[in-house]
Symmetry: C2
Amino acid sequence: MESGLAIKALGALAQEQRLEAFRRLVQAGDGGVAAGTLAEAMGVPNSSLSFHLAQLSHAGLIVQQRVGRSLIYRADYRAMNALVAYLMENCCGGAVCSPVPSSIPQKAERSAA
Amino acid sequence: MESGLAIKALGALAQEQRLEAFRRLVQAGDGGVAAGTLAEAMGVPNSSLSFHLAQLSHAGLIVQQRVGRSLIYRADYRAMNALVAYLMENCCGGAVCSPVPSSIPQKAERSAA
DNA sequence: GTATTAATTCGACTATTATGGAAATATGAA
DNA sequence: TTCATATTTCCATAATAGTCGAATTAATAC
């Protein structure tokens, strides 16, 4: 991933409503969510959410698909993977950034405290 | 990591100069870099870089330490770890986000000791 | 065709962020 | 103390981002 795209993706996620919207889309999985449904669930005006979805979309983090009158949005996991990979490669000293998802029992905390 | 802090960290990295500054600090490792040295290396006015360093600092991604007349800045790897972990847990479907950046040359020089 | 539903784009506004020179603060040296 | 260095804070300004009602486009149904 190129740094300009990473910056766009980071900026897209760096906002309360957008982060929440993205999280909901991730949770919704492959089925995705229609724009209006999402706006109502979040208690945000349609036009505001539309603005935020456009930003996420422009950053490549979500994709849209028209189904009848609705526009279904879905998280693009590959883009998210690419972003996480970028951060680990470029911002974690080139070494392992100890990714450790919480479900895995942890052996020991390193010197950290 | 709490979502408010994640948003701050994401926002801190979502800017060209700040992302570059952070990357340079990561590369510099434990020795850190003085503010002025970094500003000159990046070709950015001192006052501008100071503003950006303050943002990174406020987001918890870097720390500062005075050494004589200089202020040395260092990347805080734990904060970065926490951010990556947050993204993987909350924005990758709760499952593995297939991080695997294949072969990274392990640099081995880090606080682990 | 008109009406209804779903969503976006427009427009006007407010708020936040970024920029960089000048002034202020902090340290160390003569 | 006075001078030089290192960096921040202040200030004014420019630029970008966020908000949301109203107008517009798109699809479907009657």
